[in-house]
Symmetry: C2
Subunit: 373 residues, 2 copies
């Protein structure tokens, strides 16, 4: 799972020029309070670990690096929604925003172990850097990779536990903590199910339809990345359950649109922008919406040999892109992404979400779809 | 990490015949309330997952199986201590006992992924059974193992989150929940550090002394398996911080004794009793107290070639055992285990732990040391 990395808050603000959202941060000025909350949570791990050895402290240092990498889309979505609903408790949204970011970090690190990836956004990730250390010290490659995987599993466990602890100890009323714990719990279960689906689909253990691929993406990414921040904001703002439900549904649709754009960028994107090769999804045989659609077209016989081919070349990659164009798969996924984003906006209007939030979501969607055009 | 599996509560009770401990369960009658709490926590995962697919529900089924396997030593230790301190809230100790058992399950499952073990106590574990399913459906071995690892990582994440949620939502005063969360947090950090140490020592990334090996074992096993249940019992019984600290220290010592006995049984034990081959620690090149001591003796040149040798035979295994006898390493570790157990008892008396608890710990230690004799 990887979200588009070219996300730019400033663009969104400029396009919309929406006054109620002036308090949102631009790219250069990340939400400092979420940052402070993250520092506190990460610092706690280091402090606790003063006596637990250099290896352990390094896990936390790498966790801190991993949280620095992203655009912190999820805490920003939480903050924007919470403020749009009139929320004013900066400490609460900062801690919950930091918790969501740490949950994301845990998922990303475990996902990289599961996919045996040693890099993320062009840099060595937790498992990659640990494996590299072991190799540099003369450990043979296979065992070095096992050590990297061990470090990744443990770092993810620490991030997951820190996230849940942050929710459990958040200084809000007990009933709110309980509702938040329920949201995090559902998000965690759903993401685990989506991750498992993803691996099963890649192995061909389950037959994939476009619907199943979308369900997988919704479970694996949309729920914790979009539904969770929106719902947590609604709960922090003490809104009734129907609003929380509607916010969740909007988040699922928006998240699915994001995932579809990510599928497109994984094959058609600019590596300089996305930070990943346009061949890696093809090499891994990922059953993205593009590939699953292509399978239903008459160009599949030509596409199939390249899917899951670890030796695919740049020239062959261009050939696959041409085939995905002529099969109509590229256009199909673009249309689907657009449909999901429009459905999200329609639902947010119908559900009476605050104007500032709907306008923020609209800008976000347009910016997103523009990138996939 | 594997605790001795021949633990038998009935033996302990018969030897001691201690009236205050009559309420403890025998082997045939496990603590039913902890069992009920576990069923509730595991059932919650299944219920939540009704719409999340068969693969996801299977993860929970395997988690349930994994918790059935053990002797539930940790919840029993919690219950015994809590009752000895006069505690009467059966619901509270059941939920916290179940949480500790789930934490243990999470560690064991992730540990098996890290060590690439596909069995535990002679049965396929979560990753092993998932890999077997994939192989049976025609997936090649390497990818089937990756799928198994993915399932293990995710199942462990679910168990870890369920454990922390059980603590966070436990029906005790907020201050008690906070103290319990702190204890679980410390245990989790310490165990992660110990697990990382273990992998580093196995790879030879850090030079190992007997002290370092003991520190690793204390971190990896003793803290969450012994200190945590004792400390959680003290917190549930609303005892002051010095008592909680003393309970933790007693737990660390007792846990270290257990780990030393486990090291002995891993090489000298009866496989029918321990459920694991006496060759597996040697094959894996585990830097146990036995091996680390042997390295300091003049028999090391003869022992060394067999450590980490994946092809070691039964005959060679007997040869290694003879060498570990003649080097004095066997006796050294036995003495050390005895010393740790005695230190635990001395400290528990000095710290004024309740008579029923001290007597329970004494029986436990004697039974343990008898097995390692």
């Amino acid at each position: 799972m990887q979200l588009p990395v070219t996300w730019d808050w400033r663009d969104a603000e400029l396009q919309e020029n929406a006054t109620p959202l002036r308090t949102l941060r631009s790219t250069d000025e990340r939400p400092t309070t979420v940052a402070a909350a993250l520092s506190e949570l990460l610092g706690r791990g280091v402090t606790q670990g003063q006596s637990l050895g250099a290896g352990y402290r390094r896990l936390w240092a790498e966790l801190a690096t991993a949280t620095e990498d992203g655009k912190r889309l999820r805490p920003a979505l939480l903050e924007a929604s919470y403020r749009a609903w009139g929320g004013t408790d900066a400490h609460a949204f900062s801690m919950i925003g930091a918790a969501i970011e740490l949950l994301h970090t845990a998922f990303v690190i475990h996902d990289d172990v599961i996919d045996d990836d040693d890099r993320r956004r062009g840099r060595l990730n937790v498992s990659g850097s640990h494996a590299a250390e072991a190799r540099a010290r003369g450990v043979e490659d296979g065992r070095a990779r096992e050590y990297g995987a061990a470090a990744g599993i443990l770092a993810g466990d620490l991030a997951l536990a820190a996230a849940l602890r942050a929710v459990a100890t958040c200084a809000v009323p007990t009933g709110t903590v309980r509702r938040l714990l329920d949201l995090f719990d559902t998000a965690l279960h759903t993401t685990a199910a989506g991750e498992l689906d993803d691996v099963r689909l890649s192995l061909g253990l389950d037959a994939a339809s476009v619907e199943e691929t979308l369900t997988m993406a919704e479970r694996k990414t949309a729920v914790y990345s979009f539904a969770l921040p929106l719902q947590a904001a609604a709960v922090l703002a003490d809104l009734p359950e129907p609003t929380v439900q509607a916010a969740g549904e909007v988040g699922r649709l928006l998240g699915t649109a994001f995932q579809l754009v990510d599928d497109l960028q994984g094959v058609f994107g600019d590596p300089a922008e996305t930070g990943k090769s346009t061949l890696s999804d093809l090499r891994a045989g990922k059953q993205t919406s593009l590939i699953v659609h292509a399978r239903t077209t008459d160009r599949w016989d030509e596409v199939a040999p390249f899917i899951g081919d670890a030796t695919i070349t740049e020239v062959e990659g261009r050939r696959v892109r041409d085939l995905l164009d002529s099969s109509g798969s590229h256009a199909f996924v673009q249309t689907l992404a657009c449909q999901c984003a429009l459905d999200a906006l329609t639902l947010s209007l119908r559900s009476g979400l605050p104007r500032a939030l709907v306008s923020w979501l609209r800008v976000t969607s347009f910016e997103l779809l523009g990138r996939a055009a």
